[in-house]
């Protein structure tokens, strides 16, 4: 199938917002998506963006029944390891169900890796839910390692009231 991958621009935020919700439904986690199209526009396309995006598009003749040609995306940002230096973190990787199995997810992830290397990064990091065997198999087949299993890293988070309390001067 013919598709193209390109950098996201501010006009893509509507479709990215749509696909973020689709991805959250796939991940079945009891999170409510608070980020809106407008948040993405402000946070991703201002002078100091919090993230960058790439979008996978198909030509008009392959559009979905709802008329979408933007059928996948990856959202990433630069991070830092105090041990190995510049890194890139892939926050989201998503392809709409009817376009899976065609190499589009792999192409998106490869593009993030390529952009990361071009920026001098030594690592590409991301998280996956332990029950998501399909995704885990995909990532392992591409050569990633599970740093939680092998090194014992746990992901921790402070939010809500706990974070408010922590931020008291």
């Amino acid at each position: 199938m013919d598709y193209s991958i390109r950098a996201a621009n501010v006009e893509d935020c509507k479709d990215i917002a749509r696909m973020i919700v689709e991805l959250s439904e796939y991940e079945k986690v009891s999170e409510h998506v608070k980020v809106t199209q407008r948040d993405l526009e402000q946070d991703g396309f201002s002078k100091n963006p919090f993230f960058h995006g790439i979008v996978a598009e198909v030509p008009e003749q392959h559009k979905t029944k709802d008329g979408h040609t933007k059928i996948g995306y990856a959202l990433y940002f630069y991070s830092y390891s105090s041990w190995s230096g510049r890194a890139v973190y892939m926050e989201d990787l998503y392809v709409m169900p009817e376009f899976r199995g065609k190499g589009i997810g792999k192409a998106l992830m490869s593009k993030v890796a390529q952009l990361g290397l071009a920026a001098g990064c030594n690592q590409l990091n991301f998280t996956v839910l332990d029950w998501n065997k399909q995704s885990l198999d995909f990532y392992f087949s591409q050569g990633s390692v599970d740093v939680t299993t092998s090194m014992g890293y746990h992901v921790m988070r402070c939010e809500g009231e706990a974070l408010e309390h922590l931020a008291q001067p």
């Binding site: 999170e31 940002f77 105090s82 030594n122 740093v147």
Partner: protein, 145 residues
């Protein structure tokens, strides 16, 4: 003990570099430290950067939190973490994330006491990584622009 917490300046990199290696010794990972480096009043540091949650928005990631051994138990680590949370709040961050090694009980207890949730234990999140040759191979397969 009187102490103050302030933003790092470029001149602090030598001390930060020294403490990064001390932290790596604590975490038993000195072979992972690839960034080079090597007396003092700087006794602790926190290294953080901004990240993004596509569900909740702007967030801050606490990459390192370290206090030299002889200065622990005096509230300095907490002071550093408070400062990172405060800085994040000023930028409208709604989350503070970090990672901890599973065997590091004192640190896990420290963060739990501050209200941090262990998302690996509670929700099953695993951290995955591409580096070295695997990262190169992945990048080589990217489609032409």
């Amino acid at each position: 003990m009187h102490f103050k917490v302030r933003p790092a300046a470029k001149e602090d990199c030598k001390e930060i570099s020294r403490m990064i290696m001390e932290l790596a010794v604590f975490e038993k990972m000195t072979d992972q430290v690839k960034i080079t480096h090597e007396g003092f009043t700087v006794v602790g540091y926190a290294l953080y950067f901004y990240i993004y949650s596509t569900w909740k928005g702007r967030s801050v990631f606490l990459e390192d939190l370290y206090v030299m051994e002889e200065f622990r138990g005096k509230g300095i680590g907490k002071g550093l973490m408070n400062k990172v949370a405060e800085v994040g709040k000023k930028k409208q961050c709604v989350r503070l994330q970090l990672s901890v090694l599973d065997w590091n009980t004192p640190s896990r207890d420290f963060y739990a006491a501050k209200g941090a949730q262990d998302l690996t234990a509670s929700e099953g999140w695993h951290l995955l990584r591409f580096d070295g040759r695997d990262l190169d191979n992945l990048a080589n397969e990217a489609p032409e622009d």
